[in-house]
Symmetry: C2
Subunit: 469 residues, 2 copies
């Protein structure tokens, strides 16, 4: 394969929201930048899929909400618009083979379970308030919370099976993982980073699922890429990153270097630069071949921060038939395997789109199945939740993110127990001329599109203001 | 770089004990085999380091013990000999700034703590007896044990700080990790796999640290490699593995294939074969670029099975001065950062070698330090444990395995919570023509040299007896 060579002030690896935001900010600051993307498209974990008639569904991240100032500002700047998530009507909750309708965020359970959930959510909020989102790894007083899983905490704090089920659904909905997988401290960090309320993170109206982007969230990346023009190079998976300490950096590897201490080698493209922004999920960034190897605090972090597991499914009908029955299209099932659904129809309401998530174990079980079988188990659930008309969609589109080689899972990375305090410092600290961006590296709205964008701007600022220039 | 191309019946990736054992067994069965190794040496996580006078120290795995039948048989077959670990004399235990001597495995604590440790060890044995080492992922009844860390179990089962310290030291000694890192089920699996007794795993005489190999354990790999001759190719890091389902395999990817459904691409070397044995730690195997991508159960397993963190240090003195004082050279410190020491002198007793381990958090903190600083903190500990003569070794040799790019940590891989039941099935199950070996994939003595050897033989048998031939 012939290899093109480029020299640039800064190279950005990854053309998702983080990488493109970094590149855009660097360009704004007058820095020459080159973006290298593995896929033949921009957008990373956002992805529009056309469904005919000029409409799309989003196979990746899609919602924005209050408090997500970076993404909301960027949407405006790029001339895009939002519209409210469809919320009218009653929601459905299924548990123990029975589906019931309700209003609001928390389904109607028996009063004891409901009280337990309410108390547990309040406790989580109080605990989350103690987490320093900037440097949780310095808070050794929180070691107890990093020594246990969310599951063991939930067992102590919710005794009724229904309350436990609801807490499990909350974990699945936010992390695409199970309570057993997640460090309690990780959950608390994330809640604090997202504004302090797990309930708000689960809410549609007024919460993290408040609004959507007209035309789909991938447009955000596409418009940023259009601004950057031929600085964005698609279809070049990066394999290795050769780097040297810059004069003035602290460390053993201080050597005389030329003007380009970083060389990024991708299939068909080599970019030399003074600094790099690696804007990939940590689990993907950790797979690159760094020469020299990363410090152990960084390599250990990327070994441990695994990706959640989700299959995002869309069943597309001629119309949103559930609306006529007074239903919002939002459902939650403790019976599964679909855990949560939403009415994901376009603003016009045509076609009618039911979005169904397989999350955590349900996604793990479904990802390696043949596509038809995945469709069947999802439609079986939708029939239970919304009746027999759900059985016959005109189209069915899903994406199993765990087997997307450049994502390795969604929604994002999370840490198991024991890792925040010992490896958290490796999440964002630059290594010589290498800077890290991506939703997981954000302090505010970590894991969300908003966090991805602010992380890119932060990485650009580190470089533009730092020793690397 | 010029690339050599080889065709072979089977390609083995990795020339550690597992890969070489696989290749040796395949050769014995009349199969043409090619071994590709990234490093410029064989032995993987075993490594001899010359210290002058024809003597060596082992920077990697070194001990063998009763019940480790595969490694003991191989040592005999290869004409090597073992000698007993030096155990004579009293051991040292340090806690709360006080060092005391004792005999046996378990230090003298107060009677309550001692009783707690005894009961906890018995409980662990009883629980471990319930684990099916062949397929623990099918034992959904053990979900509770996979939902919590060893740390939370230990808090419930040991109330005195001294007992908790001792249990922490045991976890550090076996997994080079902290109780917070490890799933309780993982600990139980491993104990069961190693014979059922955590105490035996910690023992020198009669336990897992019973004996050593004259000349060092790397000789085992070197002698196997000598038998295999020019079938072993050193210095070729494998980057990608292209594979296709074989006719007769089950799966969607069934396509017409030539005689070589596997192509392994290494720096400077490409090997085409009918089947492959990937004999790497899971965390390293997961970094290869598979085309097509691995099923999610395999990729998810390799994302989650992280490597322990150890710095293995040797302080080399003109003589084993501690013996004259009636000390065995074995010490355990709850104060750290050195957790455990041994007399690692050669059979002749000259020079005198103190082996000191930094494990888990202590290793994490030390790995990224300059070498001199690591030496200083280790020698400070040795002085506390063995007196002022320990301050001035003639040599000091250590290896921080976490920053060895082809190991990414030692002693081996372990699973955090939530992973065994959902991803355990991805540990050993072949994927098309790809077979997995390595200490972590063993059912008996998983994680030990013995398990590495049996895993290689098992992978060879899968291929020789299976659809791949």
């Amino acid at each position: 394969m012939s290899v093109e060579s480029i020299e640039s002030e800064v190279v950005v690896v990854g053309a998702g929201l983080a990488g493109l935001s970094a590149a855009r900010e660097l360009k704004r600051l007058g820095v020459d930048v080159t973006v290298v993307e593995a896929r033949d498209r921009v957008g990373g974990r956002t992805l529009n899929e056309p469904i005919g008639g000029g409409e799309i569904v989003e196979l990746g991240g899609q919602w924005v909400g209050p408090g997500q100032d970076h993404v909301l500002a960027l949407i405006r700047e790029l001339g895009l618009e939002t519209f409210p998530t469809w919320c009218e009507g009653r929601n459905v909750f299924e548990r123990g083979g029975k589906a019931r309708t309700y209003s609001g965020t928390i389904p109607k359970l028996n009063p004891v379970s409901l009280a337990e959930v309410g108390v547990a959510l309040k406790r989580l909020e109080r605990m989350a308030a103690k987490v320093d989102v900037e440097q949780p790894w310095t808070q050794t007083e929180l070691a107890r919370w990093d020594a246990e899983t969310f599951a063991t905490w939930a067992r102590r704090n919710a005794k009724t099976p229904a309350a436990r089920d609801l807490l499990r659904l909350a974990i699945q909905a936010v992390w695409a993982a199970e309570p057993e997988d997640v460090s309690l401290l990780h959950a608390l960090f994330y809640v604090r980073s997202s504004g302090g309320s797990l309930e708000k993170m689960l809410d549609a109206e007024g919460g993290a699922q408040d609004s959507r982007v007209v035309g789909g969230t991938q447009l955000i990346s596409e418009r940023m890429a259009a601004e950057l023009g031929d600085a964005v190079h698609l279809g070049h998976p990066v394999r290795s990153v050769r780097w040297r300490q810059m004069p003035g950096d602290v460390g053993e590897a201080l050597v005389e270097v030329g003007p380009h201490p970083v060389t990024v080698e991708a299939d068909g493209l080599t970019v030399s630069a003074r600094a790099a922004v690696i804007a990939l999920p940590p689990a993907v960034a950790g797979r690159l071949d760094y020469d020299p190897i990363m410090p152990s605090v960084r390599d250990g972090l990327t070994q441990r921060m695994v990706q959640g597991t989700v299959v995002k499914c869309h069943a597309i009908y001629s119309e949103p038939f559930w609306r006529a029955e007074g239903l919002s299209g939002q459902a939650t099932s403790a019976d599964g395997p679909v855990s949560v659904t939403f009415d994901n129809s376009p603003p016009s309401g045509s076609p009618g789109v039911l979005l169904a998530f397989l999350e955590g174990n349900a996604a793990r079980n479904a990802t390696d199945l043949p596509a038809e079988e995945r469709q069947r188990i999802v439609l079986d659930c939708l029939v239970r939740l919304f009746g027999s008309r759900a059985a016959q969609p005109e189209h069915f589109v899903d994406k199993a993110w765990a087997v997307d080689e450049f994502a390795r899972g969604c929604y994002g990375g999370y840490l198991p127990t024991g890792a925040w305090l010992t490896y958290g410092a490796g999440l964002r600290a630059p290594v010589g001329p290498l800077h890290w961006a991506g939703a997981e590296t954000a302090t505010v709205n970590a894991g969300y599109m908003d966090g991805a964008i602010s992380s890119g701007i932060r990485a650009a600022t580190e470089i533009a203001g730092g020793v690397d220039r």
